[in-house]
């Protein structure tokens, strides 16, 4: 008796399922024990990002916060931005508080790319300083501002 094509397809499906299962086992093991596995800490709560286009669409200028090192800030920065970084948090925080006003939006930026300083500064503004609403991180950071300016 000739076997139907349905039989062959179901066998193929079983083989594919077996393949996926066999690939999953080493993948899970690698995620648990591989020395170069990504850290779950990297996937923590992040402050929401905002694009430069969106900021320009707000109509009013936010309080810009430059989270880069002091030397980078001194070289160039978003006009009107205040410097606030973790290198000198206690020394710089009063300057930010002087610039901030109730209800103002705050946009924090750092170098862009792999820089995480803006996320850290934004997180501390929310968790420690208590400015929970309206704090955002600029997507692309200083690089994005510079590109838009050119």
């Amino acid at each position: 008796m000739r076997r139907g094509t349905g039989c062959c397809w179901s066998r193929l499906a079983r083989e594919i399922a077996l393949l996926i299962l066999l690939a999953t086992v080493p993948a899970v093991l690698a995620a648990l024990v591989h020395p170069r596995r990504p850290s779950m800490q990297d996937a923590g709560a992040r402050v929401p990002e905002v694009t430069l286009e969106a900021v320009r669409g707000w109509g009013e200028s936010p309080v810009w916060v430059d989270a880069r090192p002091a030397a980078d800030y001194g070289e160039d920065h978003v006009p009107g931005a205040v410097s606030l970084n973790e290198d000198d948090w206690d020394g710089l925080l009063p300057g930010f508080l002087d610039a901030w006003r109730p209800g103002a939006r705050v946009v924090v930026y750092c170098g862009g790319g792999d820089c995480r300083s803006s996320q850290e500064v934004a997180r501390r503004l929310r968790e420690e300083v208590g400015i929970v609403d309206g704090v955002r991180v600029l997507r692309g950071g200083w690089d994005a501002w510079r590109r838009a300016r050119e």
Binding site: R11, L19, R36, R116, I131
Partner: protein, 221 residues
Amino acid sequence: MIIRPTNLVACALLASLAGSGTARAQLRWERTEVQFEASAAEQQVVGVFPFSNVGSVPVRIESVKTGCGCTVVKLGRNVIPPGESDRLIATFVFGGRKGEQRKTIVVQTDDPRSSVKLALSGTIRELAQVRPTFLYWKVGEPALSKVSAVRIVHDRPIRIVRAVSATGGFRVGLREVDAGRQYEIEVTPSGTAEQALGRIDLFCDLPGRAEPLVYIHARVR
């Protein structure tokens, strides 16, 4: 030859094993993460990452990038001959950072299999946490008291002995919730008709410590 599904499974399995992340890289790192625990008094931590070229050709380290200007990297040489070893030294300067930290260093080489992400991760212990560190009133708002909570996170209890308005314009009350562990600082502006700025300094009983333990900032805006 008839290609059966079973053959496909076997071929796919072999291909996945050959291309998996467990394939041998030329630069072998002795460790990719250094963990630390630092006291509040410490200023920095140094992580040493030894590595060896276990391949048969030289490996050139093309770039070393850190995610933060607070991490400085020192590398002995950029080209590692086969069979030789070297080390990357990363110094993380704490600055004003506190709590859980993770600083990464991405090493790119001319061999994609040897590129790696290194990490310095750990905790910078604080003595105390204040939440929030900033109290504010709008101009014209009723001059009612607002409260910041202080929690001593140090191993041993620390008593807050005095809370002082360093700049005037604000009255300060210190309330002990749990001696040596929890306090409440009540701040009241003298008035809200005009803008004002202030700082409240909290002093403790730690031997030899003359400067404030923590600060609370206050504004009428």
